[in-house]
Amino acid sequence: MLVLALALALGVTLGLLTNVSVPVAALTYLGVAVLAAIDACLGGVKASLEETFDDKIFISGFLTNTLMAAFIVFVGDRIGVRELYLAAVVAFGLRVFENLGTVRRLLFSRWGWE
């Protein structure tokens, strides 16, 4: 757990240090992609707590979810349904909260707080 928190902090510092800024045109794409990445990481944590974690599933899920999310936004832009990104946001948002709830319950049972 400590390693994971450190990794997240390292990513944030790296972002701050490299001074990378997303171009305005790509903002929506990356926004949804980031949401998908957060969802994938929470899913990974959940799976590791349930002891069903498989790194192949995690990595492939991470990549396909982020790319797919960006692709959905792209398609929405192309076919004139700009609000299509809302579908991705709702779907990933729901999953994030679901995963968060499961992780919370698993942690509680592991620490014996139930």
Binding site: V20, P23, V24, L27, F58
Partner: protein, 261 residues
């Protein structure tokens, strides 16, 4: 009998089972820790990416919010109003500065005109006064007087006739005839402004060659009169490249100028 002491064979079997058990346990442990490492590594990499992307996204969003696209209609209206007011102020400023530029240009023009007028006047005055050397087309009048019969007033007449013919500058034997010049002398000597002129007088007059020549060679004119004196010859020749020296300026030493007005 076998219960009291284990036979060496039994001991060996037991040892083998024990080591097999420990081997599988350690293999499980290795596998477990390997799995654990893979889990942590992949999750850590994922989270690292998430953190990095989050920061990049936030920074992009911050620049986007600052841009005009994100402003509300009301804010945009206010911004437009402000910019319009600013534009108007600047436009007024531009007009004011253009006016000043125009005025300054006018003043400069006036001054330039005044200056050039003054320069023109100075030119004509110094030309009249003969203060500057001059060059140009004109005529050369060569007068010989071997018998010394010519008088100063004959030269005064020569100068007057030339001036009547429109001479702009006159010099006799390389001495400029100015507005204050005078001829004097007697007994066959001719002096111009106190300098005795050598014989074979050479009069140079700048101006229209025809008019000057006519002024002297008119029938019954000065040339006709002069050549009636014994020994006197007058030759008039036109030349294109003549030059006369500058005269000396004469200031007031006894009188003083009177300013009118």
């Amino acid at each position: 009998m076998g219960h009291s002491r284990p036979t060496p064979k039994d001991a060996l079997i037991h040892l083998r089972e024990e080591s097999a058990k420990r081997l599988s346990a350690s293999e499980r442990l290795v596998e477990q820790s390997f799995n654990q490492a893979r889990l942590v590594t992949s999750l850590a990499v994922g989270l690292l990416l998430v953190g990095f992307l989050l920061v990049a996204q936030m920074r992009g969003q911050a620049t986007f919010s600052g841009s005009l696209e994100r402003q509300s209609d009301q804010n945009l209206a206010i911004i437009i109003q402000q910019l319009t007011a600013e534009n108007n102020v600047l436009r007024t400023e531009v007009a004011r500065l253009q006016m000043r530029l125009l005025e300054a240009g006018q003043a400069t023009e006036d001054r330039t005109q005044l200056l050039s007028e003054a320069a023109r006047e100075l030119n004509s005055v110094s030309m009249m006064a003969g203060l500057e050397a001059a060059a140009g087309p004109g005529i050369v009048v060569t007068i010989t007087d071997p018998e010394r019969v010519l008088l100063p007033q004959d030269f005064v007449r020569v100068v007057h006739e030339l001036r009547g013919g429109g001479a702009e500058a006159i010099a006799i034997n390389a001495i400029r005839v100015t507005a204050t010049s005078g001829f004097s002398g007697g007994g066959g000597r001719i002096e111009l402004d106190g300098t005795t002129l050598a014989r074979d007088y050479e009069v140079i007059a700048l101006g229209n060659q025809n008019n000057l020549a006519q002024a002297l060679e008119l029938p019954g004119g000065l040339k006709t009169t002069l050549v009636t004196f014994p020994g006197v010859t007058v030759q008039v020749a036109a030349a294109d490249e003549l030059s006369v020296p500058a005269g000396s300026a004469v200031g007031y030493s006894i009188g003083s100028p009177v300013e009118d007005e």
